[in-house]
Amino acid sequence: MSGEAIPPELLTDVLRRARARGATEADGFLIEERHFSASVRLGQVDTVKHSREQRLSLRVFAGKASAAASTSDLSRASLERVVDEATSLARVTAEDPHAGLPDPADLVTAVPDLELEERGGDDLTPEAKIERARRAEAAALESDPRITNSEGAEYWDRRARYVYATSHGFAQGYATTAFGLSVSPVASANGEMQRDYWYSAARHREALEDPAAIGRTAARRALRRLGGHKVRSVEVPVVFDPDTAASLVRSMAGAASGPALYRRASFLLDRLGKRIAAPAVTIVDDGLIPRALGSRPFDGEGLGTRSTVVVGEGVLESYLLDSYSARKLGLRSTHHASRDGAGVGVATTNLILKPGPTRPEDLIGSVKNGFYVTELIGFGVNGVTGDYSRGAVGLWIENGELTYPVEEVTVAGNLLEMFGAIEGIGNDLRLRDRTVSPTLLIGRMVVAGN
C-alpha cells in the first residue's frame, strides 16, 4: 500500500482501552483496502469504480463471555464507542466455557513471506487497465460471428493490508495484492441467446492469463451452449468439469467446518477417520503456497497457516477448525479461523482435490451415455444430509464423445454417495482459484429433464 497506511498502534491502543474497560482479553483485526475496477461493454467504457475501505473489528472477552463490534470510522470518538459497545455487549452474553483466545504459545512467531503482495512495479494507468478489458472483450466478439452481444469485460485490482493483534501483546500484519480480468459474451443463433464467461485472477499481475485468451475461452464456452435442450430423465454417469467439480469440493469443506459440526448440522458428523470418498480422492487445504489466491501467513486468530490433509485416500482425516469450534469438539484448532466484521468463523485457504492420472478426454471417452456438466445453478445442497439437487448446463456424452448441449435439467444425488462413486479423476488440475479440482467422473447420478 502507499505510504499513508494506518499505524498498527491504532489497533493495540484499542485493545489496551478494552482491557481498561474491564475486558479480560481482546483481539482485533484491522483491514485497509484499495479497490479499482473498470468494465467495458461493446468496446465502450461502462463503469469505473475506485474505492478505499478500512475496518477495525474487535472481539472482547469478559471472563468466558464475549462480544464483537466493528467500525469503518477510525476516528478516536468512534473507536472509543466501539470499545464501549463491545464491552457492554459482552456483559449481557452468557458465560461459555469454550470461549477465549488461543494459547499465546501457539501464535505464529515468524510470519512467512508468501509473496502475496506484488511489490515494486508501477501500477497501470486506468487507461491501460481499461485497455486490457477491451482486448479481452474484443477477442470474444471477434472470435465468431455468432458472438453478437456482451455483458462486458472487467479488469479489477485490489491492494489490502491486514493487521492482527491480541491483548497479550501479539501484533503482526501482512499485505496482499490481487488482480483479475473477466469477460461475459453472449452468443446467439436462431432467436436463442446464451451467455457464458471466463476469468483469470492472481496475486501478481503478470500471472494473469492473456486478455485475448480469456476472451476466446469465454466465447467458446458461450458458443457450445447454443442449441441446448432438455433430455429425458435418466440415471447416468456424470462428468464434472474442473470449475463445477470445485463446487463439490467446497460443499465437502462446508460440512467439515467446525461450526457446522458442533451444531450437529453436517453430514460429516462422527465420520473422522472413516471412509467418506472413493480411495482415489485426496483433498488438502494448503495455505502456504507462494503467490496463491487462498494463501495467508496466519489465520484470523494469529495461528500459523499450514497444509492440512482433509481427506486422505478417501478417509476423512481432519476437520477445519478455529479455536472455539475445536474446544467445543474436544479437538485442536487446525488454524482455519477467518475474520469478518461479525466475529470469527472458519474459512479454507487453497483447497485442492489432488489430480489423478487420467486425461479429461479419456474420462469422457470412458462414458457410453452420460452428462458432462459445465455450469451449476441454484442452492440445492443440504449440508445436514448431503442431499444434492442443482440446475445444470453441459453437453451430452454419447459413446465417449461430447455431442449436443443440454440445459434446463437438474443433477441430483447425495454428496457422500457422489464422493463414494468417484470413478475417475482428471490430470487437469490448475491452481486458478482458491478452491480447485480436476475433472471428476461420478459413476451414477440422476439427471432430471423431460
Binding site: A68, S72, G380
Partner: protein, 459 residues
C-alpha cells in the same frame, strides 16, 4: 454537496449524485440457550457517481471529508467526462417520498435485555414443540440506515430505514438421522412485531415442524410434472422466472430473454405481476430508492402481457422511459442498479383446495430455499424445502428437498389456475445481483403450473 455537484461534477456529465450513508447493524444469536454472539457494527461512507451517455464513474470513501469527496468526485468524473453532446439529459427526479415505516421505537433502539428475553422464549418454544429437536439457533438481526442523496438536478432527499429479521433454525434427530428446519420473518417494523399475533411461537413451531417433517420425507420424483405452488414465499418463482429478466439494465443491453418483448404475451392471461415498493413496513419497501426516486407500483405483466420494466435513472434515461423507483444499492460502496422491491402475483378466482384436487399426479411445493436465474437463456431454478406428492387430487407423502427448473419466458405461460389466497412472504428475502445484496419481498397466491421439471432422484 452543492460545491461538489456544482464544481467538481458540473457541466460535462449527463447526471451525477452523491450518496451519504450511516449504518448500524446489530446481531444477536442464541445457541444452545446461551447468547453465542452479540455484535454491533457501524459503517459510514459516501459514494460519488458521474454519468455520461452509457458511462458511469463511481468512487466511494469511508472517510467522509470534503477533500476525500472532492477526490472521489474527480475520479468519478474523469471517466464519465463527456466528449461532444449526447443529447440525452438527466431525468429530473420528482414526486414525493412515501412515509412507509416511521417507527416510535426502531428495532436497533430496543433494549438488549428485551431482545434476549424474546430469543430465550423462542428457544424454549422450539424445544417444547417436539422431543426430537436437538439444536436450536435463534438469531435477531437489526439494522438502521440513514441515507441522504443529492443529485445534479438539485434534488436532495433523505431516508431513515429500520429493518429487522428474526430467524429460527433447528436440527431434529431421530435414530441417527438428522434434518434441519428453518423459519423466520420481519420487515421495517419494531421488535414488538414478533410478539404480535404470536409470531414468535409460530416461527418456533414452524421451524420444528419443517425439520421433523423432513425426517420422514421420501425421495423426490425426477422429471416434468404438474406443480402446485402454495401461497407466499413460493413467489420466489416470480423473482427468478421473470423478475430479474425485467430489470432495465439487462433489457437496455439486450441480454435478457425478455428484451424487446414489451406488449407481447409472456404468461397465461390469468397472470398479473407487480413490483410494489410502497407497501407499509415491508422488507422490500422504500420511501425513496437509492437514487432519490420515490418508489412506485410497476405492473410488469398484466393479464399475461408484458407491460413494464423496472428502471433506475441511468437505464430509464437511455431507454427513454420513466424511472420506476427501482434504483437500489447494497451500500455507499456500490453504484445503484435496477432491482426488485416486493414482487408478487395478484390473486385469481380459484379455491386453493380445488386447485390441488384438479391434479391427478404432481408436486405440491409450499416452502422454498434460494433460487437463481440465467437471465440470458432464461433458465431459472428454485429449491423446494417443503414439498409433497399429489396423488389423485390429494396431498400425500412429504418429499426431500428438490430443485425445480424452468424457462422464464414460458414458465408463466403454463399457469393454468390462480387461487384467491394471495399472501406476501414473512419478510426474509435477500436478493443478490452482481455481488450486491438487498432486502426484497415476494408474494403469490396458490397457482398450478402444467409442466415443470422437478430435480429429484426417483426416475
Amino acid at each position: 454537496m452543492e460545491r461538489l455537484l456544482g464544481g467538481s461534477l458540473a457541466g460535462r456529465v449527463d447526471d451525477a449524485d452523491i450518496y451519504l450513508e450511516y449504518r448500524v447493524n446489530e446481531e444477536l444469536v442464541l445457541e444452545e440457550n446461551v447468547v453465542k454472539k452479540a455484535s454491533r457494527h457501524v459503517s459510514q461512507g459516501a459514494g460519488v457517481r458521474a454519468q455520461a451517455e452509457t458511462r458511469t464513474g463511481y468512487a466511494h470513501t469511508d472517510d467522509i471529508s470534503l477533500s476525500n469527496l472532492e477526490e472521489a468526485a474527480r475520479q468519478a468524473r474523469a471517466i464519465a467526462d463527456r466528449t461532444g453532446t449526447s443529447g440525452i439529459l438527466a431525468v429530473p427526479s420528482q414526486g414525493r417520498a412515501h412515509d412507509l415505516y416511521a417507527l416510535a421505537e426502531p428495532p436497533i433502539a430496543a433494549a438488549l435485555d428485551r431482545k434476549l428475553e424474546l430469543l430465550r422464549r423462542i428457544d424454549a418454544a422450539a424445544r417444547a414443540a417436539d422431543p426430537r429437536i436437538a439444536q436450536v439457533i435463534v438469531s435477531l438481526a437489526s439494522e438502521q440506515i440513514v441515507m441522504l442523496i443529492a443529485t445534479a438536478s438539485g434534488w436532495t432527499i433523505g431516508d431513515v430505514r429500520p429493518l429487522t429479521r428474526l430467524n429460527v433454525t433447528v436440527i431434529a434427530e431421530e435414530n441417527g438421522k438428522r434434518e434441519i428446519g428453518s423459519w423466520g420473518g420481519g420487515g421495517r417494523v419494531p421488535c414488538d412485531f414478533f410478539l404480535e399475533e404470536d409470531r414468535w411461537t409460530r416461527f418456533a413451531t414452524e421451524a420444528a415442524r419443517q425439520a421433523t417433517l423432513k425426517l420422514r420425507a421420501v425421495e423426490a420424483p425426477a422429471g416434468t410434472m404438474t406443480v402446485v405452488l402454495g401461497p407466499g414465499w413460493p413467489g420466489i418463482l416470480l423473482h427468478e422466472a421473470i423478475g430479474h429478466g425485467l430489470e432495465g439494465d439487462f433489457n437496455r443491453k439486450g441480454v435478457s430473454a425478455f428484451a424487446g418483448r414489451l406488449g407481447q404475451k409472456v404468461a397465461s392471461e390469468l397472470v398479473t405481476v407487480v413490483d410494489d415498493g410502497t407497501i407499509p413496513n415491508r422488507r422490500g419497501s422504500l420511501n425513496v430508492d437509492d437514487e432519490g426516486t420515490p418508489t412506485g407500483r410497476t405492473v410488469l405483466i398484466e393479464n399475461g402481457i408484458l407491460t413494464g420494466y423496472m428502471q433506475d435513472r441511468l437505464n430509464a434515461r437511455l431507454m427513454k422511459m420513466a424511472p420506476t423507483g427501482n434504483g437500489r444499492r447494497e451500500s455507499y460502496a456500490h453504484p445503484p442498479m435496477p432491482r426488485m422491491t416486493n414482487t408478487f402475483m395478484l390473486a385469481g378466482q380459484d379455491d386453493p383446495e380445488d386447485i390441488i384436487r384438479s391434479v391427478p399426479k404432481g408436486l405440491y411445493a409450499v416452502t422454498f430455499g434460494g433460487g437463481q436465474v440465467d437471465i440470458t437463456s432464461g433458465k431459472f431454478v428454485f429449491s423446494a424445502s417443503e414439498a409433497y406428492l399429489i396423488e389423485d387430487g390429494r396431498v400425500t407423502a412429504p418429499v426431500k428437498g428438490a430443485t425445480l427448473i424452468g424457462n422464464g419466458p414460458d414458465a408463466l405461460v403454463r399457469v393454468s389456475r390462480v387461487g384467491y389466497d394471495l399472501k406476501l412472504d414473512e419478510g426474509v428475502g435477500t436478493c443478490g445481483k452482481d455481488g450486491q445484496s438487498v432486502p426484497v419481498g415476494v408474494g403469490l397466491p396458490t397457482i398450478r403450473i402444467d409442466g415443470m421439471t422437478v430435480g429429484g432422484t426417483q426416475v
